[in-house]
């Protein structure tokens, strides 16, 4: 059917109105996303302190990238730290949040209170909790090491039975004051705030068809088999979502490392984003170099997410798919 002139005018007007409505968003995207991204790409090709527009700006081409990949030991260290934190911490957070959400999905009295209590740490996240954890992990006066010391003393007679020297003299970890223990300590901190992932699992658990579970039970499947073969496949989309967001957020970890880093760690908590920040915003203000670091970081995170999404084909189950 050929449109009448009136219809064409109406379409043109509504398109125009649509553009006007979308304009604030378009301005935002162009001004706050597209331009900074292009700007950062251009800056990564410069040697620049990021402050003066008129001096100390030098075109260096791909030199920043070459220097990062070939001549910067801190780049490998920072990337390694972030990958360690992300690849070990995220699965542990997922496992913990899944386990707790399964427990919290049961219909019990006062379950709402338990759900709130487990979710609270996620809401409380921030500088204050990091500082509280740093006290908890204090190697000499912290309650965690006090408890460990008490445990060692308790099992001491048992250990001596086996002819060993005894466990009361076992050294307790130095946590944030040791290159070996600083990242595990931070991962423990990360696990504590699993509330976000837990909430998503809880929501996903509400959508597992009860009929399938009942049918499996009638067929003689035990609790574990029902969880493994009925519940878990239904949770895989939520697991994928939590995995991807968990990986991205943990790769971007900054404030924990910024607050807890100290000289005893031997750069053990020098995470990638912290290193990037230091390059850009601390003397000698290498903004061009930091921009190149940011682009490499983008590629690394992109590859990680791609791998997660690509692997999802083999383990994520969507209802309605064969």
């Amino acid at each position: 059917m050929t449109p009448t002139p009136t219809t064409a005018v109406t379409n043109g007007t509504s398109r125009c109105v649509g553009v006007w409505f979308a304009l604030p968003w378009l301005v935002g995207v162009i001004g706050l996303v597209v331009l900074p991204v292009v700007g950062s790409l251009c800056m990564s090709l410069l040697h620049w302190d990021g402050l003066s527009l008129t001096r100390d700006v030098e075109w260096v081409g791909l030199d920043n990238y070459r220097e990062i990949l070939g001549d910067d030991p801190l780049f490998a260290k920072a990337l390694g730290n972030s990958l360690y934190y992300s690849l070990i911490g995220t699965p542990l957070v997922l496992a913990a949040s899944l386990a707790v959400s399964v427990l919290l999905s049961r219909r019990l009295r006062g379950i709402g209170l338990f759900r709130t209590l487990f979710y609270l740490p996620h809401v409380l996240g921030g500088v204050a909790t990091v500082l509280i954890w740093s006290w908890l992990f204090n190697p000499r006066f912290g309650p965690i090491n006090a408890m460990l010391g008490w445990c060692f003393a308790t099992v001491d007679p048992l250990v001596r039975l086996f002819g060993a020297e005894g466990s009361s003299s076992w050294p307790t970890p130095k946590w944030f004051y040791s290159p070996q223990w600083c990242k595990p300590a931070l991962i423990l901190m990360q696990i504590w705030s699993f509330g976000g992932a837990m909430l998503i699992f809880l929501a996903a658990l509400q959508h597992v068809p009860r009929s399938l579970d009942d049918a499996a039970a009638i067929d003689g499947a035990g609790r574990w088999r029902r969880f493994r073969h009925v519940t878990l496949p239904h949770l895989t989309p939520a697991i994928l979502f939590n995995l991807v967001t968990g990986l991205v957020f943990s790769m971007q970890a900054f404030h924990q490392a910024y607050l807890l880093t100290n000289r005893a760690q031997d750069d053990g908590l020098l995470f990638y984003v912290l290193y990037l920040y230091r390059c850009a915003f601390e003397p000698p203000y290498r903004v061009g170099y930091a921009s190149a670091l940011a682009w490499i970081f983008f590629v690394v995170v992109f590859v990680l997410v791609l791998l997660a999404v690509w692997s999802a084909r083999s383990w994520v189950f969507y209802e309605g798919e064969r």
Partner: protein, 445 residues
Amino acid sequence: MLRPIRLLLATGIVLAVGWWLFADTVRHYCPLPADPSTIRFAHFGSYQDYQIWGEVIAAFERRHPELTVRQEYVVGMYGAYNTKLRQQMLSQTLPHVFLIQFSPFAHLAEGFADLTGRVADPVEGLDLSGFAPTAVGSFTHQGRLRALPVSGGNLLIYCNPDCFARAAAHRGREVPLPDDNWTIADFRELAEDLTCDFDGDGQLDQFGFWQPRWVYYLPFLWSFGAEVLDESGSRWRLVGPEAENALRFYQELRVGQRVSPRPDEVAQMFQDVGFLTGKTAMCVNGPWFQPFLAETRLGDRFHVAHIPTGPAGRVTRVTWDGICIAANLPSVQEDNAWKFARFVCSEQAQRILAGTRRALPTCSAALSSFTAADGGRRTEKFVAALAYSRTQPVTPFFRQMDYAINRHLRSLLREEDAVSPVQCLAQLAADRDITEHFLVPGAEP
């Protein structure tokens, strides 16, 4: 009817957004005429500095009732202050007069007014002959005086007498405070005596000495005969056997002798807290530590000792703060700014600054106010130490050097696979931050 209202609304929104986005830019390029009788003065430091400078400003305003000084105070660490100065410099919003530390001075000096001519003026000038020579030299950049030296301090060793008493009781013999002629060997022995495990649980409860960062370690480094830079500040000199000995001594403080605590043993403490709580018996610090300690439970009971004499004699580091005027001010404002800067260097203002014991005055006539504050018990040591105090050479690349040295000294103090002093020096001399900015002996130019 609806159309004009819509148009009006849209125009209003566009204008409001435009104002919100560009008002500061317009104000920046078309500033309102500034009141020349108001002088903006910026400084850093603790609340005590704020009070001291308040007194100086009040005295100035009494002398010049036609002028007003607006105090712009940056709380806390010097790093934040220096960053702010740098940003203000680039945005052309520098205060008219401001305090500057010695270490970032060389990097920023180009943005400060040249005071050479003002000082030499026969009527409105300033006689610098009574000022500490190292202080005047500190702020001369490429032959031009870019700041007036205001106050400063040298590093000496603070002793906590409570720790000495506890160590004496623990060892069953006297552990005396150091005398004025002590040596590095005496220091080592005393630090060992002061390091104690009181309850016998295998963990040290008190340490002899708080291991300083490299800038506060400079007195020891120099006393061993080592240098970091040459006098021009362009050549790397931290090489050779003297530097090795200095670094070995530094390493042994923690790793060999164990007279300095590991970070985990003083977790969440910094030097000041470690000292005043008695965790460490001795530490290196400047006169600014005195008013801080006076407000703690230690009160007036601390002791100050000279730097021990090393193989190359006795040397300590002195550092000065200067007062600068922003470059390119309108002439009336620059004249007023100069009046304030000159007043800060006058004997009257110098006596106010010195009377708090926070810093040594640069003007020697005001030194008596510094020593009068505690009857000369400790303050005279700082004055006497000026005889063997020196400044570290000026370099615009101080921060890069600072980062590199801190990074490599850490590898010296690692509990496992610590590098040797020789390796540490070699790695430092090959560090990119050093080779890019300094001429390293043996390296290609």
